[in-house]
Amino acid sequence: MAETMTVQKTVRFIITRQDSPDSKPYTETFDIPYRPNMNVISALMEIQRNPVNAEGKQTTPVVWESNCLEEVCGACSMVINGKPRQACTALVDKLEQPIRLEPMRTFPVVRDLVINRERMFNALKRVKAWIPIDGTYDLGPGPRMAESKRQWAYELSRCMTCGVCLEACPNVNERSSFIGPAPISQVRLFNAHPTGEMNKEERLEALMEDGGIEGCGNSQNCVRVCPKGIPLTTSIAAVNRDVTKHMFKKWLNA
């Protein structure tokens, strides 16, 4: 009797790992049992369940970050086959194998694929990416926003601070203090809001300082890699226009 053998199909992952923020990065290869419709996150979960590398040696599970698993939270950003993107929407069936995973090195690496995106949240604070509505008394309802404008602004509001645009930007690095594309687009968003507009100048002035909007060199990689399809380069040019106007107004009115 011929023995029936089921050959388990596997997917090879080559992962750039790092044990601590200061230790040297190294690569480790894993062969993960294939399942239909799996994504990079489910493959990482498989390694977590059975942390054995391709040589059959027991190893530490690969550490990563993820939350929503539907490309709205921005936590699982990593470099997959050379391109920064979200791991949750990186379907294994659509990726070239072996699949290479690396952390986004523009940010400080915490461990393995986990990075610290704190600079992005600091940037949002710096440009005041919010709408101030609190007062010592009831300020009443704000001005209405036209529905057509709301729909347009919604596109910009989809930014999830994932950091992919900063990773692709050649001007975001340790030699430059450039704030990056995402917060500039947020300035455009909050300056477009009827209530947010009241603090328009503050946000523009935050971008007219060291590491502000002047750091953009127009490589336009940001708009190519943004997982949400946000028109980042249009936002940057639009804010450039506002900043230019604000600069001349300030000089001529002084």
Binding site: G211, S219, R224, V225, D242, T244
Partner: protein, 222 residues
């Protein structure tokens, strides 16, 4: 004084256009007279510039000062950039990388070119009337002809692509369509400018530029 890189960078951008781009176009038109009208026209074009009033002031304000600022600060801007066309091989990213590479080439080329021409006049080794001869010697030497061709192509690209970026950085071309049409326009300008400079450079190879020079030397001696 506390410096804000925003204003430094905007000054760098502005000086690149006014006056440097304007000077670049003037230089191109002057040179092109060599291709269009030969040595006599070229000499009279050079003479016209040298007969301008308050020339040392014009030269310092419109050329030397902006050139040094744009060049030196430009090196710092280039130093601050990563070149990542390997990972992101998009057209605009290539233009971004080339803008920095051609900027450095242009700075080296301009320094050498100024040494060979303006500095030599300053040192009294040649006069303004000898530029045709100087350029003839440069254009007929294979090595310096190659160097000048590379320099001219780099400068023309940096000029045209720099103007494309200027229109984005000052918020004039905002949308993707405006930026795309602008890029076609400025690449057309690159081809024309590079062509006119190269035509002039090639015309300097003509023996006519050597002969007029020798006539000049003879009259000087006679």
């Amino acid at each position: 004084m506390r410096t804000n890189s925003f204003y430094t960078r905007r000054l760098h951008s502005l000086l690149g256009v006014i006056p440097l781009c304007l000077f670049f176009v003037t230089h191109m038109l002057t040179n092109f007279q060599a291709a269009e009208g030969g040595p006599e026209r070229f000499r009279s074009a050079v003479e016209f510039i040298n007969n301008l009033p308050i020339l040392p002031v014009l030269e310092f304000v419109l050329i030397w000062a902006p050139l040094v600022f744009h060049g030196v600060y430009g090196l710092y801007v280039a130093y601050q950039s990563n070149l990542n066309t390997g990972r992101y091989g998009y057209g605009r990213n290539w233009a971004f990388a080339l803008q920095r590479i051609t900027g450095v080439i242009t700075l080296i080329f301009v320094a050498w070119h100024v040494y060979e021409t303006r500095i030599q006049v300053m040192l009294g080794n040649i006069g303004h009337g000898d530029f045709g001869q100087v350029m003839h010697d440069i254009a007929t030497n294979g090595l310096s002809f190659t160097f000048y061709t590379i320099g001219v192509l780099a400068a023309a690209f940096h000029f045209a692509n720099g103007l494309w970026a200027f229109f984005v950085s000052w918020g004039i071309t905002v949308g993707p369509r405006a930026q795309r049409i602008s890029s076609y326009f400025w690449m057309g300008v690159f081809v024309i400018v590079a062509g006119m400079f190269l035509a002039a450079l090639i015309s300097f190879r003509s023996e006519a530029f050597a002969e007029t020079a020798s006539v000049l030397t003879q009259t000087a001696i006679g």
